[in-house]
């Protein structure tokens, strides 16, 4: 967002209502010129209404929308259309206008009352058809092209308006994924190459994260969060707004946040229990999110900074015993790990491959047993196959088993076994039926 001076669009304290139904309340934000902003939020949170309000369709009860510092509702609709174009979710065209005819309709605000389109208008239409890659369809009826092509036509029509700002309402929600990406890549290109300001409602959080530089997260007609995708798409925000447990990871190529849905929690866990997870190299990714989803308080270690599990643990906001990237576990981080284990009620070891660098994690698990903490070993793969230390890991692993570590096949089993191993804590919100099993 930054400084408001460079803003092309300002929404100041806007309140909108359908009849007596207040839909937007106290919305204030500014859109910088040349930015790509996504509006996200659950159904009914006011995303589309906000777009309608900005696009001069639904006049706010209170507050103003300033486009180039001029009140949108004080301008004529033609003046607004010269500055701002809108692409709806889907445009139903029942009449066999040709693609070119529809695109040229975008020139309407630039034409006088009784004027017809001239040579320049057709040149502009040709240019935007090139941009949107639909020039070859120019003579085809819009009724006889695919949904993705039609959406490109509508975008071309919007571009023919030569706007400074383009508003889109879930422009790809009716399209296949390849068409979705095609449209969004096109928008991104326009945004970067022509400094076109783009504001779009998104249903899909990952597409929003991927393409936008700013996100506005709406909840019940208000802005819940506003900022970069990293700032907005956090586990906590999504939990608060969508009441859904997710795992937020980092896209391995773009570095943008990726939201992964988790199975709805069974809420059988003992929220107060502290679990320390020994993992690394991606073996703990699912486990960490699963346990977090079930309300366990987690810590993790020893993880190398930059490791996938480290990222996940960090995104979940966990306390981590961490080590420098690609370095073997040092005495310092080993001690840190011990510290976390000491505070935990139980310790779970993911199906980690062992090299000389992380053998200390096995020793940490043995120490946990010695301290009387239950230890669960998840054996997705036999230890022989993941021992890269010439038998040393195998030896320590067997020692673990002898000392009473419980071996499980997968992370799901943890949810069933864990409550039985944990020291009983009487809590009011702990269901009685589960207590019987213990």
């Amino acid at each position: 967002m930054g400084k408001i001076a460079g803003a092309v669009l300002k929404v100041l304290d806007v309140e909108c209502a359908y009849g007596a139904n207040k839909v937007l309340d106290g919305i204030t934000f500014a859109i910088e010129k040349g930015s790509f902003t996504g509006i996200i939020g659950p159904n009914g949170s006011g995303k589309s209404t906000l777009l309608r309000c900005i696009s001069r369709v639904l006049k706010p009860v209170r507050g103003v929308v300033l486009l180039d510092d001029r009140n949108v509702y004080g301008l004529g609709s033609r003046d607004v259309a010269k500055l701002m174009a809108v692409v709806p979710q889907e445009t139903v065209v029942n009449f066999p206008f040709t693609v070119e005819e529809v695109v040229v309709m975008g020139r309407s605000p630039h034409l006088g009352r009784f004027q017809s389109e001239g040579k320049r208008d057709f040149e502009i239409a040709a240019r935007v058809m090139d941009l949107t890659n639909i020039r070859h369809l120019a003579g085809r009826p819009v009724t006889a092209i695919s949904g993705g092509e039609r959406q490109r036509v509508i975008i071309a029509k919007a571009l023919a308006q030569e706007p400074e700002v383009i508003l889109l309402d879930e422009p790809t929600s009716h399209l296949d994924i390849n068409q979705q990406l095609e449209i969004l890549n096109l928008l991104q290109r326009l945004n970067r190459e022509t400094k076109l300001t783009i504001i779009s409602v998104f249903h899909d959080l990952n597409l929003a994260a991927q393409y936008c530089d700013t996100l506005i997260l709406m909840q019940e007609g208000r802005i819940f969060a506003l900022g970069t995708p990293e700032e907005v798409l956090t586990v906590q925000n999504i939990k608060a707004v969508y009441s859904t447990n997710v795992l937020v990871n980092k896209h391995s190529i773009t570095g943008r946040p990726v939201v992964m849905l988790l199975a709805p929690g069974r809420q059988k866990g003992i929220a107060q229990a502290k679990i320390h997870v020994l993992c690394g190299g991606g073996t703990g990714t699912a486990l960490l999110s699963l346990l977090a989803n079930h309300g366990y308080e987690l810590t993790a270690g020893v993880l190398n900074i930059g490791d996938i599990d480290w990222e996940v643990a960090r995104l979940l906001g966990l306390k981590i015993a961490e080590e420098a990237p690609f370095c073997p576990v040092s005495e310092r981080s080993h001690e840190e790990n011990f510290g976390l284990i000491k505070r935990a009620d139980a310790c779970i070891m993911a199906s980690i491959p062992f090299g000389h660098g992380n053998l200390k994690n096995l020793q940490a698990a043995i120490r946990a047993l010695e301290w009387g903490k239950p230890v669960l070993l998840i054996e997705e793969q036999r230890i022989e196959q993941r021992d890269f230390t010439g038998g040393r890991a195998l030896h320590l692993y067997n020692e673990l088993k002898q000392k009473g570590a419980v071996v499980l096949r997968d992370g799901i089993e943890v949810l069933d076994v864990l409550p039985k191993l944990l020291p009983r804590k009487d809590t009011s919100d702990f269901p009685k039926t589960s207590l019987k099993k213990i």
């Binding site: 033609r78 003046d79 709806p88 445009t91 029942n94 309709m105 003579g139």
Partner: protein, 350 residues
Amino acid sequence: MKLQGRVRRPKVVLGILLFVLGSTIVICTTIGPAPIGPVEVLGILLGRVPGAGGLIPGGDWPETFETIVFQLRLARVVLAALVGAALAASGVVLQGLLRNPMADPYILGISSGAALGASLGLLLGLGGYALGIYTIPLLAFLGGVGTAFAVYALARVDNRVPVSTLLLAGIAVGSFLSALTSLVMVTSGSNLHEVIFWLMGGFAGRGWDHVKVLLPYVLIGFIPMYLYARELNVMLLGDETAQHVGIEVERVKRLMFVTATLVTASAVAVSGIIGFVGLIIPHAVRLLVGPDHRILLPTSALVGAIFLAAADTVARTAVAPLEIPVGVITALCGGPFFIYLLRRKKDPGF
């Protein structure tokens, strides 16, 4: 790429259609029960054109021929053409505004309102010449316009007129008024025949007076229709889309409804309720020239004029001296032709 159903040169098409309309009017005027030959008709017609009187030799026809050709036949053909143009143009505008294939000029209840007005007038015995020939047309006009505005007002929600509520309001008010008209007909006794004849529509007994009544509405009404053709095109993509390219949608809608209502109601007032023209002609022409209102509107008006002028001639001559109601002819010709067009083009406009 060659465009299907598109006209490359609209002006040429319009020119040809104008010529066809002129020829149709002349040909239709030559047809009739009185033994007047085409040459004499041409002579009589040209005699009325300043400076063209001597083009046809002769001129030794009786005075009655002149009256028949000019006062009876020509007036009637011209009126039929005007009504055809009015209904077709209104049909184009309403189908476009409502984005609905079933829309026709009567969708706003104009026909049922006009029918009630006219039948009430006939019931009260106002159809006689004592009160002037304008009484029934005036009542029909008022009934039609009043109904259309009532429907519009009923459909209004928050200063906007959504298409769906407008259609429903039109149907509801239309059925209500039709019921009232039926009630009037039951109680109309000896006037029943007149009422039924009016309802079926036609041009029997109409003359230049009716043309004079209708002409200003048609001429004045066509101007805004044509000037807003580009806006109508964009509005086919939806109200909000049109608004987003800078069109004051509700204002254009209002203006177009008022215009179409006045044009349709004036046509109904002079001719009664003639069906199919306002529905079929816009459809057929759209299939032929495409959806662009700038060409669709004038082409439909011309085709509507030609069609109704020809249909009325068939109506009055096919089983002369008996007259077939012209609505029967329009339906008999229009229906099959329309089906043919629909079958020929797999992708109809709607």
